[in-house]
Amino acid sequence: MAIVVRIDVELAKRKMSVGDFAEQVGLTPANVAVLKNGRAKAVRFSTLEAMCRVLECQPGDLLEWVDE
């Protein structure tokens, strides 16, 4: 995956656990794991919005492009 979701970085900054994050965003822990390890094929804007709201950050803080 050339696009990486940097949830772990933002979570560490806010000292938030994955379980709390999943609950507040409304995702299953399994789907959070899919996002974290880069196996996600697509993300809804509503999911992205909820993640930004919970982590108080911008989409750009979460998504990163890496050259493979």
Binding site: N31, L35, A40, V43, T47
Partner: protein, 159 residues
């Protein structure tokens, strides 16, 4: 899934009814009819058993289709219709229609060469063309199911 539950339920009732009628035809009505015809026309009596077997096979093809539709309806209700497993039953329907088509085609050719009035030939032609249309329609519907399954698989990957 927004499938009309009552329609599926009524359809299931009629599928059971259809299957029951088919079993009666397969085991009682058609063999009895051919026995009667053999008694009426002794010089055609040799056709009794081939005709009975072919008729029973054609009814069997319809029974396979009925069972496959039943299985597919279960998958619709459990929201599993857009999966690879449903293609097993769709292919069973297509196989049954294909087998019936081949048998009907052979009967059509045999009767066509031997019949002396056009009535049975036209009736067979009607059935043959009808089965062809239904079979081709099933191929189109299988392609649509394939598209829908691909879309569902893609959508399931969206988080």
């Amino acid at each position: 899934m927004n499938v009309d539950r009552s329609a599926v339920l009524v359809l299931r009732v009629f599928l059971v009814l259809l299957f029951g009628v088919l079993v009666v035809f397969q085991t009682l009505s058609l063999p009895g009819q051919f026995r009667h015809m053999a008694e009426e026309n002794p010089h055609d009596a040799s056709l009794r058993w081939p005709a009975t077997i072919v008729a029973a096979f054609l009814v069997l093809c319809v029974q396979v289709v009925v069972v496959a539709i039943w299985k597919l309806l279960s998958m619709v209700q459990e929201d599993r219709i857009f999966s690879e497993a449903s293609f097993t039953w769709v292919n069973a329907i297509l196989g049954a229609i294909g087998a019936a088509w081949v048998v009907l085609g052979c009967i059509f050719v045999l009767v066509g060469f031997n019949a002396d009035d056009p009535g049975p030939i036209m009736l067979l032609l009607l059935v043959l063309v009808g089965v062809t249309v239904v079979g081709l329609l099933m191929i189109v519907m299988r392609a649509l199911l394939r598209q829908a399954t691909t879309l569902r698989t893609d959508l399931d990957g969206v988080i």
